[in-house]
Amino acid sequence: MNFLEQYNYWIVILLMMSGFYIVIAHGNLIKKLMGLTVFQTSVFILYISISKVIGGTAPILDDQYTVYSNPLPHVLILTAIVVGVATTALGLALAVRIKEAYGTVEEDVIQEKDLQQEGSAE
């Protein structure tokens, strides 16, 4: 098996790891969410490339074609995309409210303020 033959999976892994890295390494809440989106998108590509049949067309019913991609993963991933959009929207809404409440969207500043609050409560 050729190394490059399954390049689609390499792209998936690359995207997944870079998304994951952004989530972990960045302190900015918005950037974290963007990383999360990249991470989720990589899984969408994984599903879509699973369903690809070499030489197949789009799954449209037509007498001309007999070989076509598996439509089921496409449908599944439409659902997952909707879920992803909802998650991102909710995450951004939370980021807005965090900005209002804390005056910042930087993780370390928020944690510092939380520590101060806990310290003064005691």
Binding site: F20, V23, L29, K32, L36, F39, Q40, V43, L46, Y47, I50, P73, L76, T79, A80, V83, A86, T87, L90, G91, L94, A95, R97, I98, A101, Y102, I110, D114, Q117, A121, E122
Partner: protein
Amino acid sequence: MIQHLPILQVIIPLLAAPICFILKEARLVRWFVLIANVMAFVISIMLLQQVNLHGTLVYSLGGWEAPVGIEYRIDELNAYLLILVTSISTITLMAAGKSLTKEIPESKITYFYIAYMLCLTGLLGIVTTGDAFNVFVFLEISSLASYTMIAMGNDRRSLWASYQYLIMGTIGATFILIGIGLMYMMTGTLNMYDLAERLPEVEHTKTVFTAFAFFLVGVCLKLALFPLHLWLPNAYAYAPSIATVFLAATATKVAIYVLLRFIFSVYGFEFSFSHLPLTEILVSLGLLGVIAASIVAIYQTNIKRLFAYSSVSQIGYMILGIGIGSKTGLTATMLHLFNHALMKSAIFLALAGVVYRVGSVNIKAFAGLGKQMPWTMAAIVVGGLSLIGVPLTVGFVSKWYLVLALLESNWWPIAVLVMIGSLLAIAYIWRLVEVAYFKPALQNNQSYKEAPLAILIPAWIFVIANIYFGIDTSFTVGVSEKTAELLFGGAR
């Protein structure tokens, strides 16, 4: 009507959510939501009756037979879990009216109920469905709803807790999605029943192992297995009290159900325990969770956070029971799943009463409360005794079975560690008891009245259940043994 029960179980809370939007008026919504919950509870009981009469119920959504359509499958395990979730959610809602007016601005109460119903929909959906992808969808419905509920807490830290949970939860859900995708890749089906039949043919491929690993990590994130529990303490501590009760008692339990379903029914005992070092992984992580989370709990000053850490350690016991890989171990897990839901609902509901009167759950605020709010504090103490595992409470029954299972496998050092875990529980419960009963009330404290009956009665329903099922164990042990047998039976 009767044959449509499985879908009605999910559809009723799902439809109730948008209707709340139309009703708008918080008081109206409250009664409406309660009625919808009672209906869901009645349906879950009818479902159990049907299962007892006819065996496993299979329902094809929209008349499309599996594997083309989505299939809902209800056997005894699902039926009992549905009853657990709906009964706890109904009783919790009885206290919601009072508790929420104190903790959430009036204008947001309707939205809280909507999120609550959607969360319930998601949890019930996870339990009823027999389709792997459907599990993911319902998991996300319940998660998104719980992020919203947590963010409604009146402390700004609730926002930060909700955000952290969102990041971790989404990573977990995406892992589950990857796992399901890889399973589909190898078998061409998403139906759990079909998966169980087709996976053995390809069980030696790396893809199937990878799928299992991704799925396992994803679910463990959701059920807050140590060390993937970091989202849980803050989320429980700063969420509105009612949300804490509901999530602590049901959400993690449903995640454990998903874990059990995939380990035992879909992959099968053979694959999970002989091809993979699952015993070693689960037992060591479970034990670490029990010990480490209990120690951290001892040092908490926020009592809600203290009990949140205690939840992490109790989840450790359940995972330990699975890890033993014997029927008795699984019985212990099932028992503890049920019992822990009772304990934590009693404790967190009583804490909701404390928040209602005192407005704080800092340990200092508890000084003298033992005299001022005797019934509320007694509920917490009984719940605490149950957490420790004192005889005549439910906690004792499940710990007994867990230790029994460990001794059965000749793992007595681990049994000793489990006992040490219980001792640590005594330490953190004692800290609270000492402050509440033996410290005089602070000078400038006005004296607090007992928590309102609307909160106290639901809390005491759980307390009495704690004691009742601790004395009369035939029902819970019978059910747990039956479901453990069912899971060990492999493909349903």
